[in-house]
């Protein structure tokens, strides 16, 4: 059977699984899934009664404006080097972005790993190096292990501005909010490598929603969606793993142990979602000396989102990017206003890259 035949067969089976239902809405939680769904035209393969909603799974997009502004304030201090994953440097703050500060001479480095930031600190002992710890459970254990390594090596010029987030509490908050009715979730593959299949059980048990963990290749996503539609069609709220061989029932316990040693859960601000109880990670008291906000007396203020930007509603599935007045005019990948256009995994960036050109060609915008 060719891949094209397999794809049409999967699409047909998805349609059959929810035949006769008015509308089925499921959310893909992970930004990497969002990109793959757009790149592979998966939305166009689904029947008209199925709607995919892109959720709050892009770490840059959900980072609260107050944390972006705190990072910018740190970067403007003399003697301080800020090290960050790439997408963060372009997110506009209240006045500047890290990128504009860097153009004016601030020492801001793009790194692929928290360990690279630690190595920068080792090589530049006269400077303080602050790593911006953003990301979900895939990334948080790496930050935790790096802080432990800094402690074991006795490195005193390294610290972290931590705004790591936890996926499951955000899923629950969206369900509690209830503004966007959801029938189930396509759950992130690599976050699940760490948290495991069981982590989603409260979503099934408490909220009665189906959850399916899926890989990232087009057919893997279609298989995940098929399983999800079958569960929804049968009215079964359970958690299934369509990324077997990669994701284990209990995830990666060694990674979680490190994460739980260095961090404690805290109520955390998410862009536009507000403060979600127990949805973030802050340094545990024993590691507070690695907290950049405390070390440099940074006050994490209030959020001041860019006027007109609807990223917050986009990541909750309340509006599509085209409904934002800034999309494609004032806000583009070259001059992004909101984080969903900055990040390569952002929903607005995915729309702009994969969806909008064809719509313009068809004269629909």
């Amino acid at each position: 059977m060719t891949r094209a035949t397999q794809t049409s067969l999967l699409a047909q089976q998805i349609a059959d699984a929810v035949k006769g239902r008015d509308r089925v809405q499921v959310m893909e939680v992970c930004g990497t899934h969002t990109v793959s769904i757009f790149r592979n035209g998966i939305r166009s393969l689904l029947p008209p009664n199925v709607r995919l909603i892109s959720g709050p799974g892009c770490p840059v997009c959900v980072t609260a404006q107050r944390h972006i502004d705190a990072a910018i304030e740190l970067a403007s201090r003399a003697g301080l080097t800020v090290a960050t994953y790439g997408d963060m440097i372009r997110v506009p703050g209240r006045v500047d972005s890290l990128e504009t500060l860097r153009a004016r001479g601030a020492d801001i480095r793009v790194v692929n790993s928290a360990r690279t930031a630690l190595q920068l600190a080792q090589r530049n002992v006269s400077r303080q190096v602050v790593f911006l710890g953003v990301g979900f459970e895939t990334t948080a254990p790496a930050t935790a292990a790096t802080i432990l390594e800094a402690e074991q090596l006795g490195i005193n010029n390294f610290s972290v501005l931590a705004s790591h987030k936890l996926v499951v509490p955000a899923m629950m908050a969206l369900l509690d909010d209830g503004d966007v009715p959801l029938d189930g979730f396509l759950c992130p593959g690599h976050v699940s490598v760490i948290i495991g299949v069981r982590a989603y059980e409260p979503i099934a048990a408490r909220y009665g929603k189906a959850c399916v963990i899926a890989g990232f290749e087009a057919q893997a996503i279609l298989v995940g969606l098929l399983r999800l539609m079958q569960l929804v069609g049968q009215g079964r709220a359970s958690v299934e793993n369509a990324y077997a061989g990669i994701v284990r029932e209990d995830g990666n316990p060694a990674a979680r142990r490190l994460m739980e040693r260095v961090f404690v859960t805290c109520d955390a601000p998410w862009r536009a979602l507000g403060v979600i109880p127990a949805s973030g990670l802050e340094l545990a008291p024993a590691y507070e000396r690695f907290d950049a906000a405390k070390r440099f007396d940074i006050v994490i203020g209030e959020d001041c989102d860019p006027p007109g930007c609807r990223c917050g509603e986009v990541i909750q599935g309340k509006v599509e990017p085209l409904e934002c007045g800034l999309f494609g005019s004032d806000c583009t990948p070259v001059h992004p206003v909101g984080p969903c256009m900055v990040s390569s995994e952002g929903t607005c960036a995915a729309w702009f890259k994969y969806h909008w050109p064809s719509m313009r060609q068809e004269g629909r915008t």
Partner: protein, 89 residues
């Protein structure tokens, strides 16, 4: 940001401390230093899933090849950041 890539552990070195164990991992011909702090069970010859400079899971070769198939179709050569600070060997 949550995408992880598979690679093969070529050699293991570093200290025996909890976070000091590192490996050289082959990523389709590129060799990169990777921490094994999150996968203490990983050894030479194993395939691992790498994310942000860390091996986050030990996987089998078939799954590793499947993931590379997907990645090779996705990777955009224009999107790599030449300005990124690299891990020290």
């Amino acid at each position: 940001m949550c995408l992880a890539v598979p690679g093969k552990v070529i050699s293991v070195s570093g200290s025996d401390s909890e976070t000091g164990r590192t490996a050289v991992v082959d990523l389709q011909g590129n060799r990169v230093e990777t921490s094994l702090a999150l996968t203490p069970e990983a050894g030479e010859g194993d395939w691992v899933l790498m994310h942000a400079g860390f091996a986050i899971e030990v996987i089998d070769e078939d799954h590793a090849r499947e993931i590379w198939q997907y990645l090779s179709a996705v990777i955009d050569p224009d999107s790599s950041s030449a300005a990124t600070e690299q891990d020290q060997p």
